[in-house]
């Protein structure tokens, strides 16, 4: 019996195995090559940006990052203003988006009637589906005039006169500027942070919350002392994810930031960002050094977002493992 089984496999199986093995190998190699391609693109982006920007880095050295002049006529390029504008608008975006996103996540996991949770979370996620150029156009034609007419005069009169923070909020109420851009960016990153927050909030093990309830906690105390501490690293990961998005957002910011290469303390003044400068000027760059400077800006943007997104991903991996263990 045993012998017949052995001869059966030896006689007929190898031929099946052989033809299968060749095709199997080909299929395996094809999928592996596709996987390599993902790495190749990411590496290609980094290398081509570094290569394209080498002329600017060689010419200006560290002054490319610290220099405040962006003078096309004199071929002097210092990227301090766009870097500052990128960081400042992203900071404003996070100041708005983080509390709002956590509020939305809390609302969706604890407060909203069950039937409304699906539709509301889809609606919030649709904010991420709207193309950024639509945000930009709406920002330019609708939101910037609204800011200029209703919000910025009020800021001028009330916060602009205060000590310390006054200079941030004084300036001509023209609607186009860092504050407007920051708010639009904030709206755009809300869905990214909110969806991660909602996911991890609802993954908190029920016994933890139940013990807090048993100890007599209010709902706020459950959030602030159980849910948030338990999900802290994921929430920080989500914030970094939102930051990565905000830093690299191009079209929306290009419309409402004003493309000005002057530095100003006031948030109401036009400024520039790395992505907006590239979008506005790249097709007009007529000299090698000019084009190289813009590509060098792209390199800086890529490196910074790469680091921020890596941190985000590492933090989110950790919570996934944690949640995986507790289940």
């Amino acid at each position: 019996m045993n012998a017949t089984a052995a001869t059966f496999t030896e006689d007929s199986a190898p031929s099946v195995k052989k033809s299968g093995a060749g095709a199997d190998r080909a299929f395996h190699l094809t999928t592996a090559a596709a996987a390599w391609l993902v790495l190749l693109i990411l590496g290609g982006v980094a290398v081509s940006m570094a290569w394209g920007g080498r002329l600017a880095f060689q010419t200006f050295g560290w002054h490319f990052v610290t220099g405040k002049d962006w003078d096309v006529g004199a071929e002097k390029f210092g990227a301090f203003v766009p870097i500052y504008g990128t960081l400042m608008t992203s900071a404003i975006a996070l100041v708005i988006a983080v509390p709002v996103s956590i509020g939305i996540a809390l609302f969706l996991t604890d407060i909203a009637p069950r039937w409304s949770r699906g539709p509301i979370s889809v609606a919030i996620e649709l904010l991420a589906a709207i193309p950024s150029i639509i945000y930009g156009m709406w920002g330019l034609f609708v939101f910037a005039p609204f800011m200029a007419k209703h919000v910025e005069p009020w800021l001028n009169n009330h916060l602009g006169t205060k000590p310390f923070i006054g200079p941030l909020f004084s300036g001509p109420p023209i609607g186009i500027g860092m504050l407007t851009a920051g708010i639009v960016l904030g709206i755009m990153v809300i869905p990214f942070i909110a969806s991660v927050a909602r996911e991890v909030f609802s993954a908190v093990p029920p016994p933890l919350r139940e013990s807090a309830v048993a100890l007599g906690s209010t709902r706020w105390e459950i959030l602030s002392r159980v849910t948030l501490p338990y999900t802290r690293s994921a929430i920080i990961g989500a914030v970094f994810l939102g930051l990565g998005r905000a830093l690299g957002e191009t079209m929306a910011v290009t419309f409402v930031l004003g493309n000005a290469h002057d530095i100003s303390l006031s948030l109401l003044m036009p400024s520039n960002s790395i992505a907006a400068a590239i979008a506005n000027e790249f097709t007009e760059a007529d000299t090698e050094l000019y084009r190289s400077s813009l590509i060098a800006l792209g390199f800086l943007l890529f490196v910074v977002t790469f680091i921020v997104l890596t941190i985000a991903k590492l933090l989110l991996l950790r919570i996934n493992r944690q949640l995986g263990r507790t289940h």
Binding site: D24, F27, A34, M49, G103, A129, S132, G136
Partner: protein, 279 residues
């Protein structure tokens, strides 16, 4: 036992804030959609689909832009989707537990969120500079690179959801691994993979930044993929930033159609996916 007032107030305040935050989020959505609808519906005319983009001060349509966008999106899907499905298959099946798969899975998420303008610059350096001119091919390639990580992620996730019993059943029948993947796993995960591709289409349809330096724009009708190609997002960008009223109207019309397309695609894909899950 009554809860002290201070704790009760904190509780009520926190929940009022959460409700307000949600309303805050929804207000922006309504505001943006309402503006697009109001301005866009007023600008909708049949000439939009009959005439080309006009010079300043004249009236016209967006026919060449719609055509160019459709062609480049199709090109993006034709290049990006097969590679994405293959890479996703490696991550979930053939390379599962390998170090390469872990690294690619990690890096794919970074590519997914990387600034799309950088992809535009990359394709500019790679294709436009080498060829010496802007082209629809370059635009399609840039869109493919944006679509790729989306398809990789959804393919990987949907293949992982296929129960291991189905793989084991296939192996028990003596099928080689590639046939198990192709004939069993792809069939089981088909609708989820398609969902991913369609969501990717919704995403690349509105991408502007990667097209600025690759396809550029073209005021005239052109079906030549080897030259600059008109497309809806870049036309919206140029026309909205211009000082001409006629161009603003066309930009709103384009914005309305683009938004309607993207949102309808998103919502119907979600509904279909949910229906599939219920079955």
């Amino acid at each position: 036992m009554a809860i002290p007032v201070r704790r009760r107030v904190a509780d009520v305040a926190a929940f009022a804030f959460a409700t307000a935050a949600t309303i805050f989020g929804l207000i922006w959505l309504t505001w943006i959609l309402w503006t697009t609808l109001r301005e866009g519906a007023a600008a909708l005319t049949p000439t939009l689909f009959r005439e080309m983009t006009p010079p300043p001060g004249a009236s016209g349509g967006l026919l060449n832009a719609f055509y160019g966008s459709a062609v480049m999106i199709a090109l993006g899907v034709v290049i990006g989707a097969p590679v994405g499905v293959a890479a996703g298959t490696y991550l979930a099946e053939h390379g599962r537990y390998t170090r390469l798969a872990a690294v690619v899975s990690f890096m794919n998420d970074i590519l997914l969120s990387a600034p799309s303008i950088v992809i535009g610059l990359f394709v500019y350096e790679l294709v436009v500079r080498t060829a010496g001119h802007f082209s629809g091919y370059a635009g399609g390639l840039a869109l493919a690179m944006i679509l790729l990580p989306i398809v990789v992620r959804t393919t990987e996730e949907s293949l992982r959801l296929v129960p291991d019993q189905m793989r084991e059943a296939g192996f028990a029948l003596g099928l080689p691994r590639w046939r198990v993947t192709r004939q069993i796993l792809y069939k089981a995960a088909l609708s989820a993979i398609l969902t991913g591709i369609l969501l990717g289409v919704a995403r690349i349809a509105g991408e502007t930044a990667p097209l600025l330096f690759t396809a550029l724009n073209n005021q005239f009708w052109s079906s030549d993929l080897n030259g600059p190609l008109a497309n809806v997002p870049v036309v919206i960008f140029q026309y909205a930033m211009s000082p001409y009223d006629e161009w603003h109207v066309l930009a709103w019309a384009g914005a309305f159609i683009l938004t309607a397309f993207v949102l309808l695609l998103n919502i119907s894909v979600r509904l279909l996916a949910r229906k599939g899950k219920d079955r």
